[in-house]
Amino acid sequence: MVKQYGGATIAHIPDGVLSAPVLTGGALAAAVLLAVATRRLDYDRIPQAAVFAAAFFVASLVNVPIGPGSVHLILNGLMGLILGWTAVPAILVALLMQALFFGYGGLLVLGVNVFNLALPALLCGLLLGPIIRRAGGRFTLLWGAVCGALGVSLTAGLVAVSLAASGPEMRPAAQLVLAAYVPLLIVESAVTAFAVVFIQRVSPDLIWNRVSPCD
């Protein structure tokens, strides 16, 4: 008889890894975020949210070999910058689809995964969105890289905390996640930077609209 619970990655914690208190706390925190996001939902950004959710859904399928290992994009920093609060339901839907169609993550751990990805996205939008808009098109590449790096760093930290809080036997896994996020940081920063520059050229309204998406 064999039993398998799959693998833990920097973004998808599978079912059967975290303890019940962590699962409950994560689900409650995600529910609070989702409730606030629903009240502040910008319906004008629903089409963009769908596009980003689809990109997030597919991004986890593409692994970029980095040395002996590999990483896949998260894109939560970019989502937070463009979508603001709308990024929360977008991330929820994308994670749910990944769990149902690919078995990535899980349904019980969905709340924790949503919180670990959506909170960094929101912080990127809140902190860096006004800075990028005030910059008026200058240093976009740099701020885009910072956005990607911040999103990945915060996500890695939250995932490590989630694992470490589930018991001493999960602490080596938490350390492994933190060690593995460095190559992802580099790739995500670069991709986010180029994506922000590209969006600035083809559809600047997404970034420099008059109303902040986090208002």
């Binding site: 064999v2 629903i46 597919v58 399928l61 002996p68």
Partner: protein, 194 residues
């Protein structure tokens, strides 16, 4: 001047892409554990660290998978063992196996044991005693395990393989939900105006 889009394409160019779910498969043959580590895209996880824990949780052994992602380990006594595989990039996978026999696995695929099928009147050999029968059954189990093990690995590869239909289904579902939300919003807006 180098265009950002070109740099983006170059950065994302790689010789292979695969899904990221990390899997560990293992089966037993007598007191030998055979296993393989791979990603759900089917790529072998060469050099993955494999740790073997006893029932009481203490670490028995650690080894690395070969270039094909495979590993073989002999255990001293029967029981349940926990295998933990680490890919080195943050992926871990776990599997439990049970070793139920103390017999040495044979590498000779052709058994020379004397046997006779019960009720076979055309057999040239007489009916074997109980010891030879048990030996024969054990060798049959080991031979079946050798043949079935790789098939189970292939089956798991196929089961975990990400299919295009699933990708398109997920994307369609996302846009469908967005469309439903916009339709609902339009109805609400229309009601308010009227």
């Amino acid at each position: 001047m180098i265009k950002p889009t070109l740099l983006l394409v170059l950065l994302l160019s790689c010789h292979s892409v695969q899904a990221h779910l990390f899997e560990l498969f293992a089966y037993t043959e007598a007191n030998r554990i055979h296993g393989s580590a791979f990603s759900s895209g089917g790529q072998k996880a060469a050099g993955a660290l494999i740790k073997v824990f006893a029932e009481d949780g203490h670490l028995l052994n650690s080894l690395k998978s070969n270039q094909q992602g495979d590993f073989v380990l002999d255990v001293q006594k029967p029981g349940s063992y926990r295998l933990l595989a680490e890919s080195g990039d943050g992926h871990i996978a776990e599997r439990f196996v049970s070793v139920v026999s103390q017999a040495n696995p044979t590498t000779d695929k052709t058994s020379s044991a004397e046997f006779a099928l019960p009720g076979n009147e055309t057999s040239k050999k007489s009916t074997v005693d109980h010891h030879h029968r048990a030996q024969f059954l054990q060798q049959v189990e080991q031979a079946v395990a050798r043949q079935v093990g790789p098939l189970r690995v292939e089956l798991q590869h196929h089961d975990k393989h990400v299919r295009l239909a699933n990708i398109l289904g997920g994307i369609g579902f996302i846009f469908g939900l967005a469309g439903l939300l916009l339709w609902w919003r339009c109805r609400q807006t229309g009601k308010h105006r009227s």
